[in-house]
Assembly symmetry: C2
Homo-oligomer: 391 residues x 2
């Protein structure tokens, strides 16, 4: 547990800004670009940790807001931290709780100090601040933790976006300062009622600024002045048109420090991720593969299918012939469709297994392409295959 | 696929009627006494087939009524049979559909010919006869199939019970005759719109007679006259007191042919199963382990626990310290409780995995005890442990 957090770039594409690298954490190494499956409540929905290991997930997400409310960060800390609590020995990243709190809408109230909100579970009142978010994430002990930020709502006026990003900058400074104290001073941690379970935690800053290029730059400048272990792009995929998202991403990604990991939060489809890799993004998370799986919406190398469709009723072939996951190695479309139509839990298990595998495999193929200097060709053929659809 | 169905007795307990044996099917060998996990709709709820193999389940159940309605036995037959459809290479048993149809209550109507009923899914009308049940089970291709019987309702008058068992006997004869034709004559199968996917299917007769000892004997005599590959005790665990169930079981089990496998249908708790093994029962099925699992009710060697109870909130130990299943090897009670309280699918997966493992392990321990000539001691210490409860 004494390994420091580091990031190395190991290969660069010559035709795009894509790069392949390696994150080192106290809980193992992670090849980038990487997709991080989302384990909101301490579980990547419907999957066992063994399944995640078998599909070679190297890092998964946990959710500060959810885990704080239930089972509480105190309980998890008392039981040795989030890795131990959920029996996951590889790396974890936790978000700051900001995104969820802001999603609560009328249930929350914002001030310079922080955000007061009511629990979606029992209506109880809570107050989340940058300091509190750091305490929760220190209690959880995840390897990469995020500054407490305001995820600027979309659409926002220029003035709203600027006020919001500036608040995020002030909160970023408070986050860094407080985490430093917690890690450096056992008394400080004890005062907060927690035990430091992972002293190697890396802290990432979050770039905001809505869809305004110059505000994105202002946000970045302010974060750089504070200095973080990595930089995330937040406030995208919040309802804007895809072209707007791409334009902001294209604008700001190349300006993030080259030597630090770059994380595009909450994005997206396989197409989005490839597009972002081409701009130099290293890390992704998204609920799409697991959420879609539970609705029967499955990703394949030939585009998405909805397995509930009657046309798959007697198809004796796997979801995706080119996929090596357990769901594709063992079961047919006809069987998985039957499981959905019958409301069986195994439908969610097998479909989540496939969709998460598909995301992880896509990233593996992206990394290989970068290593081989063939990323641009891969990008093109990947999109062509997707658009070809099912024969 | 040409291995004939056989049963050998390999060890007998000297102090009870317990025996250990081996069933041989076209889909592998099964050590008895055996617990058969229930896979109603072609899936043992919440478990993958790989998990079932890893916990060494040798035979699982499928449900004729459910599979006939959805996805239909015709589709399954067209796709190569139930083994292939669900990707399970080990043995399977299907029930006759009788029990489910009779559970439909007012939706069904009984005649000498068979039972007409309305689907619980879409209200469509169907007519199930002994011949139809054989055709469905032949289409599914399970290794052991059951005669179409009337599961006598409880309570029943002596007259009702006698009429019912006699109908069951006539249906048993029709079942055997029709299955014989289907297996012997490809034209007969083709006429029924199916392809014989497993010509080695064994057929079991079902003993009825409600709680009347002499009627149980009458039923058995009539079944023996027809002759079956194995004999099941039906019509128990249908609402009667446990003492009544035990008395019927104690009375009739030792009278079943010694050289044939004996199957106690739908029973029961671990205590029930041990009690029945002592009377010479070889085969069991029950939905308890999977159904209870989904409600957080977990079996342990020290009695049952409900994992939702607040006392397990911070228990950093497995469900059952003496269990070697993945849920117990990897996860804590605190984590599994958290999964329940959060409504996570993984709660059902891990709990089903544990409960089914517990049933299979209990059977494994029973078999070992019989082999070692220590069944009576095992029986006693098993019940003592159960009643000891959690410390």
């Amino acid at each position: 547990m004494t390994k420091r957090f580091t990031f190395e770039i190991l290969a660069k594409d010559s035709e795009t800004l894509a790069r392949a690298g390696r994150l080192t954490t106290a809980h193992g190494e992670i090849e980038t670009p990487v997709f991080m499956p989302v384990g909101t409540q301490g579980t990547v929905k419907a999957l066992t940790q063994t399944m995640l290991e078998q599909m070679d997930a190297r890092i998964i997400l946990g959710n500060t807001y959810h885990l704080y409310l239930r089972p509480t960060h105190r309980l998890i800390n008392q039981l040795g931290g989030l890795h131990k609590f959920i029996s996951w020995s590889r790396a974890m990243l936790t978000d700051s709780g900001g995104f969820q709190v802001f999603s609560l809408g009328p249930l929350r109230k914002l001030s310079e100090e922080g955000v007061s909100f009511q629990s979606h579970i029992d209506g109880s009142r809570h107050f989340l601040t940058p300091e509190k978010s750091m305490e929760i994430q220190a209690a959880l002990g995840s390897d990469i933790i995020m500054c407490f930020d305001e995820c600027t709502p979309y659409p926002a006026t220029r003035e709203q976006a600027q006020q919001s990003l500036e608040l995020t900058s002030r909160w970023a400074r408070r986050s860094k300062e407080h985490l430093g104290k917690l890690h450096a001073d056992a008394d400080e941690a004890e005062k907060a009622g927690l035990r430091i379970v992972n002293p190697t935690q890396a802290l990432f800053g979050i770039n905001q600024g809505s869809m305004f290029f110059d505000l994105r730059q202002q946000s970045l400048d302010e974060l750089l002045e504070i200095g973080f272990d990595g930089y995330a792009i937040g406030g995208l995929s919040v309802g804007e048109d895809k072209q707007i998202m791409y334009s902001v991403m294209h604008h700001i990604t190349p300006k993030l420090p080259v030597e630090k990991p770059r994380y595009l939060m909450g994005v997206g489809t396989p197409e989005d991720m490839i597009e972002a890799v081409a701009q130099g993004v290293d890390m992704f998370d998204c609920v799409l593969p697991t959420r879609n799986a539970r609705n029967g919406n499955l990703f394949t190398s030939r585009g998405r299918i909805n397995i509930k469709n009657a046309r798959y009723k007697n198809e004796d072939r796997p979801i995706d012939e080119s996929c090596k996951c357990e769901a594709c190695r063992v079961y047919s479309r006809a069987y998985i469709r039957h499981l959905y139509m019958s409301g069986e839990i195994l439908a969610s298990v097998l479909s989540s297994l496939h969709n998460v595998s598909f995301y992880l495999d896509t990233m593996e193929r992206i990394r290989q392409a970068i290593w081989l200097g063939a990323f641009k060709e891969f990008h093109q053929s990947f999109l062509e295959d997707l658009s070809r659809g099912q024969e």
